[in-house]
């Protein structure tokens, strides 16, 4: 018991130094947690993917569409229970600023929402959406960000499909849980197709991807191959993969940046390690005479070493705990400010565990080097030592 009291008293001997070290720790642990959360947010889209959904796209690349008549042939593949379509629209709302960016997809209005049960819709709104050719379904996050209400008309300037398009909000879908991203607008593919037919007949009757629902998630690989076999050596070969793999293929393209953030998040831990190690080295050096006195009184080298490591760990535990506590409100503020970049911005339990683990590791490592020196010091030398 007196061991803990001694350690605790030691911390507050240099109030200013301990306070500075603690501040540094809180900032570092907070920064580490935020960066890990950013990395997680990057992967949010793939977390939402269901194992029961496959995505089929043009094998050359996503820029190339697939003919819509593939749908019936995919539907006939054994194991497939439903097929829907989705088409990236790539329109600009108001201007090019990131705050006004959101994704629009032209989808099969009839069954798209059946395939995505994680989007909670009201039956009457869904019906109204299905009935209105210019109708659109808007996610909760998007609706809140721009103040869209049912009945509003949203004008969007097409970049891939020229012209200004107007969509009427017919419903707002809610997320099932906090991994669901509700920042998109879905409208009728039929509406898109009929306009294209008028102006660019060559580009009509085409969709971006097919979303395939299968009954048994464990047969995903087999069914994917069966679908691709169906269209081998055709004009538009398909590439079918699970929705998760499809989403991850986007993230993989920006992997370098994710890697950089991840590496840098560990650099901040190394920096704070240097700061804490420095504090402990100085503290131990100043108290060498004290440690010699303790030894002279009969305390073993182990006790002296434990005294230093204990102090180091106690400081980092305190700093780590404060840092973790601060992470939640700061992450919430972050989300409020950057919600359009990161629709899902949640501090994961693993992140908290990693924060705690790194605080502990920093405390242990920073205490070890000075404690070895203090444990080894000869009583005579230590007593003679002056700072």
């Amino acid at each position: 018991m007196y061991y803990l009291r001694l350690v605790f008293k030691n911390i507050f001997r240099h109030k200013l130094r301990s306070f500075l070290t603690l501040t540094g720790l809180v900032v570092a642990i907070l920064a580490f947690g935020l960066m890990q959360t950013v990395v997680n947010a990057w992967y949010a889209g793939s977390d939402m993917a269901s194992a029961q959904r496959l995505v089929s796209r043009n094998a050359t690349s996503l820029v190339f569409p697939l003919p819509v008549y593939y749908r019936d042939r995919i539907r006939a593949v054994e194991g497939v229970t439903a097929v829907s379509t989705s088409n990236w629209f790539g329109g600009i709302y108001k201007d090019m600023t990131p705050a006004n960016f959101f994704a629009q997809f032209a989808v099969d209005h009839d069954n798209f929402f059946d395939l995505y049960p994680e989007f909670r819709t009201k039956p009457e709104e869904l019906l109204a959406f299905k009935r209105d050719r210019r109708g659109a379904m808007v996610g909760r996050l998007l609706a809140d960000a721009h103040g869209f209400k049912v009945g509003d008309v949203i004008p969007v300037k097409g970049t891939i499909y020229p012209g200004t398009w107007e969509f009427v909000v017919r419903g707002i879908y809610e997320p099932k849980d906090d991994t669901t991203i509700t920042r998109q607008l879905y409208f009728h593919w039929d509406y898109l197709n009929e306009q294209i037919k008028k102006f660019y007949p060559r580009r009509a009757e085409q969709v971006g991807v097919f979303i395939i629902q299968i009954a048994d998630g464990s047969r995903a690989a087999e069914i994917s191959q069966a679908v691709d076999r169906e269209f081998r050596n055709s004009l538009a070969e398909t590439l079918t993969e699970t929705e998760k793999a499809f989403q991850l293929s986007f993230i993989a393209q920006t992997e370098t940046i994710v890697m950089a953030v991840r590496i840098v998040s560990f650099v901040v831990i190394v920096i704070i390690f240097a700061v804490v190690a420095n504090t402990m080295a100085m503290t131990a050096r100043e108290r060498l005479a004290e440690y010699a006195t303790l030894k002279a009184l009969g305390f073993g080298p182990g006790f002296v070493a434990a005294l230093i490591v204990g102090e180091s760990v106690m400081i980092t535990t305190l700093g780590g705990a404060l840092g973790i506590l601060a992470t939640f409100p700061v992450a919430a503020g972050f989300k409020a400010a950057l919600g359009s970049f990161f629709p899902v911005f949640k501090v994961a339990p693993e992140t908290v565990a990693m924060q705690a683990a790194s605080a502990l590791a920093v405390g242990l490592l920073a205490g070890i080097l000075p404690s070895i020196r203090a444990a080894r010091v000869k009583i005579v030398d230590g007593l003679r030592y002056i700072g």
């Binding site: 540094g24 900032v27 570092a28 996503l62 370098t256 650099v267 920096i271 240097a274 700061v275």
Partner: protein, 388 residues
């Protein structure tokens, strides 16, 4: 009377571990700071180097990138007849009608595909881009299923070495050469014959038209003429500006990320410097008293401690900068969101980055060392002599 700098230097030298840890912490912060600036500079260099001001890019209105754009054959032919367009010795207009698509190829050492730009161009395309040279193999022959690949691609992607065949658009394309775009965005592209590509991809329209003007000053006249012509509903941009716009969001992202990280990290490093300097003052209380007693002024003490902190920061700054300069050997390939394709760019160290990095580290030293130095300067002679 000033305190000699040797005294300052030896103070740091005596406490090697502390000095090393503090400077090391600062070096890491400086490293991150410099790395981000270098990355941004590298990106800019890549994209500015991608074009020349005499060239203009013509796209369909509202198309942000060449990928989204379409220029009909009659429009493209009309552009060739405009008077501002330069002509070669034999009178052919210096215009390159091109088609641009994306294909997905796995990155080397992984099975995950990444998007690459494939550009179909006539023989004129090479002439309009004098900065591009074939460094290995030869150029593709017009009218054949041959392609040449940019340097960054041949290093980073599967099946892109000379002699290998790439399969896309239902055909096999033989890689016959590698070209060096002088660290420009072209290094991340695959080039082939435009007519072959149009056929293979079943397209009837070009994606974009690149034209050389008589001189860069004629741009105003040229764009006014396009705007006035009812048949040419096209958007005109000078080539370097077009490529700059392409990377605006990536560049903004990198600088925001960098500023945020540097700001957070520098707090840690400044605290580290402050702790070290406070300890340095506390350890030497009686020494400071002695210095004051033999006639050194408060201002000299302040200067000496500030100098110590600045020296510490400078050491960290130089360490960080040296570390960061090694980054120039690396190339980063990542997706440019606007064009939705891979872009390779490197770290680029400029004298101004080196300067601002060192200034940044000195600033950290100044902030971290100021309060402790003031404390040292304000010590009373009698108290401090008694302290030991």
């Amino acid at each position: 009377m000033k305190i000699p700098i040797a005294y300052v230097f030896r103070n740091l030298w005596t406490r090697k571990l502390t000095t090393l840890l503090t400077a090391g912490g600062m070096a890491l912060v400086v490293f991150v700071f410099a790395a981000v600036l270098m990355l941004d500079a590298g990106l800019r260099k890549t994209l500015v180097g991608t074009g020349s001001y005499e060239n203009v890019v013509l796209l369909r209105p509202a198309a942000q990138t060449e990928i989204q754009s379409a220029v009909y054959r009659d429009q493209a032919s009309l552009v060739e007849t405009l008077p501002e367009v330069a002509r070669s010795e034999d009178g052919t207009p210096l215009v390159s009608k091109e088609t641009i698509v994306l294909i997905a190829i796995p990155k080397r050492g992984s099975d995950k595909p990444a998007n690459l730009v494939v550009r179909g161009m006539p023989a004129m395309g090479m002439r309009l881009r004098p900065q591009v040279r074939v460094i290995d193999g030869r150029m593709f022959r017009p009218g054949s299923s041959e392609v040449v690949v940019g340097r960054a691609i041949s290093e980073g992607f599967d099946g892109t070495s000379i002699g290998e065949k790439l399969r896309f658009a239902g055909r096999e394309w033989t890689v016959v050469g590698t070209f060096d775009g002088g660290k420009s965005g072209f290094d991340s592209e695959i080039w082939g014959d435009v007519d072959q590509m149009l056929q293979a991809f079943r397209r009837s329209a070009y994606s974009s038209v690149l034209a050389r003007l008589g001189s860069a000053d004629q741009f105003e006249a040229f764009s006014a003429r396009i705007a006035a012509d009812q048949r040419l509903i096209l958007e005109v941009k000078q080539e370097p500006l077009y490529y700059q716009d392409q990377s605006k969001s990536l560049s903004t992202f990198i600088s925001y990320l960098g500023i945020a990280l540097s700001a957070i990290f520098s707090i840690g490093a400044m605290i580290g410097a402050m702790i070290t300097m406070y300890a340095s003052v506390a350890n030497r209380t009686s020494e400071i008293g002695t210095l004051r007693a033999i006639g050194f002024r408060r201002s000299s003490i302040l200067a000496a401690f500030l100098a110590e902190s600045l020296l510490l920061a400078l050491a960290g700054g130089i360490m960080g900068l040296v570390l960061a300069s090694f980054l120039q050997a690396f190339t980063i390939t990542t997706m440019n969101w606007q064009s939705f394709s891979q872009l390779a760019f490197g770290f680029h160290l400029t004298p101004s980055i080196a300067g601002s990095t060192l200034l940044f580290s000195l600033f950290m030293g100044l902030v971290g060392g100021f309060l402790p130095s003031v404390r040292a300067a304000r010590l009373e002679i009698v108290d401090s002599l008694r302290a030991a």
